[in-house]
Symmetry: C2
Amino acid sequence: MSERVATPVAPGGTIGILGGGQLGRMLALAAARLGLKAHIYADDADAPAFQVAAAHTRAAFDDKIALAKFAAICDAITFEFENIPEAAVSYLAALKPVHPSANALAPTQDRFAEKSLAVSLGLKTASFFAVNSGDDAAEAFAGLGGHGVMKTRRFGYDGKGQARVSSAEEAARAFLAFKSAPSILEGFVDFAFEASVIAARGQDGRFAAYDPPENFHEHHILRRSTVPGRLSTAQIDEAKTIAKTIGDALDYVGVFCVELFVTKSGKLLVNEIAPRVHNSGHWTLEACLTSQFEQHIRAVAGWPLGPVTRHSDAVMENIIGAEAADWQALAATGGALYLYGKSEIRQGRKMGHITRLKPSRGGH
Amino acid sequence: MSERVATPVAPGGTIGILGGGQLGRMLALAAARLGLKAHIYADDADAPAFQVAAAHTRAAFDDKIALAKFAAICDAITFEFENIPEAAVSYLAALKPVHPSANALAPTQDRFAEKSLAVSLGLKTASFFAVNSGDDAAEAFAGLGGHGVMKTRRFGYDGKGQARVSSAEEAARAFLAFKSAPSILEGFVDFAFEASVIAARGQDGRFAAYDPPENFHEHHILRRSTVPGRLSTAQIDEAKTIAKTIGDALDYVGVFCVELFVTKSGKLLVNEIAPRVHNSGHWTLEACLTSQFEQHIRAVAGWPLGPVTRHSDAVMENIIGAEAADWQALAATGGALYLYGKSEIRQGRKMGHITRLKPSRGGH
């Protein structure tokens, strides 16, 4: 337990949130439940989170005057996505408490640092190699001994900045296609299924992890999270221990997600660490008394974490792109429907989600 | 089934809400979940619902210019409390769809009309007499044959405008203390317990009722709602039928609450009809997939009603006045905590609530 617990943000106080997408929106809604005001800082005019926040700032993330004004209004600051420029986070942290910290954020912004951290903590990952040149790419491929996936080290999401490669030439070509951005080549994992664990760490160092869902992706975008999934009791415990190991190592404050590959032999490999609330945790809104969004706000505000027990089994399904046009049919299915207030439907864009519950068959 | 279903309000549309207290706030949060914008209209500068709405208007309820501007922005309009001036509702209804309608609202604004409606529908109430003079009061008391409660016909809530009377003289004095406002004298009901039923009626005439909670009041303010309470299965069915009878008679659209006395001999007496979401339905936020707030927004927006089944047993407790100062202890109890964003703690003021769940022991 660390000893740096500041005075908690009292009801009526303001939580600043960098980023105004659906995650910022659901964080703002969670803050409101607790009597806290949300101030959204985003650079787009039409950010969905603006609609539900007590106040918002529209400005660039490198606008120091706007950042300083924002910090002056906020009692604590957080963010909804990991690609916030590190300079903005550091600048704000000098003015007001920012959670998670820039130190915790940094390794999650770089796939090589992220996987190196996991390995240094004794956790398992796919094999991986840093790639800084076409020669590196070819050499790394030779080291893999099989298929691989080339990924940019920074700023990738939903399959962007990723390419599957089956030869040294393809690896080199993928690197060039990424405009020679620093990359990693990962061994292709022929996993049994994917899973994730959503966990939280409070300012007092307390840790709590939700039951890990099984995740199914389509076209590199999360389609569905199911809890409980196919993880065994031992794997559920192992997933939570992995999250605790990472959270403690980063002295993390807030909610984070560890995405896992579950191999056919039953091993759990760390795939990604997301320093934020996560799409695969949306089912906590219905199936748990404290959602991942409220949990994050609690941690950021210095409140005690809430319970993570799950009263029901849940299946969360994303509503992607044109599927949102069917909102009338979706509203009639009896699931818990969320629409994110995005004015424009675009292919592959996450427009909402729907969660269905059934009585719990265990997994607590 | 009526045939007046208009085009539903599509995601991105705006629901106007008259009133900016905690009910308006929770309605706005529910609208946001569905991708709808909330526009709050209230006359106080510091309305809690302003903090979570996409937009708000601060103006008096008789300001026709402000009302017209508000209507121009909204796709459908509703209200969070029944004491909206009828003139404002009628004025708005000429401009945009207002649910529930002025016709449905009117009888619930007047205790005499409300109880007369219940009786005309074959429902049971306490005995009651209209009182328009001190002589009426004395005469009505003689008709009761026991203790009574004098109540103003309009604008009473949380015990305001109520007095228990034990003699004809006390009845006449109570009437004068109400400044001779039109009143009713009700027979005092020595009930076994109080209950309520929260129900919804869609624009298509479909009806759905949540399981009725048992309610416990302290100093005329709701302290606690428990579901399931002590109602028998037959009483649960009867309570839902009472609500359906009233909803159909009023051609009601939206959520409403019927407060009931359960007598020692097991009879259900209609006490009050609230044409809005209700404090005794806050537990639906956690224990049901569709909360009373989302249900009301669905009805007002012309969407299909959501499921009202209850996956857990629940106890909802209000946080009243100075109790809110204990927010840190309340946040650590493991219940679902709501704080309403009210800047000032006042005696008897509803500051928040907390709901605890346990696995369901039936009552569906």
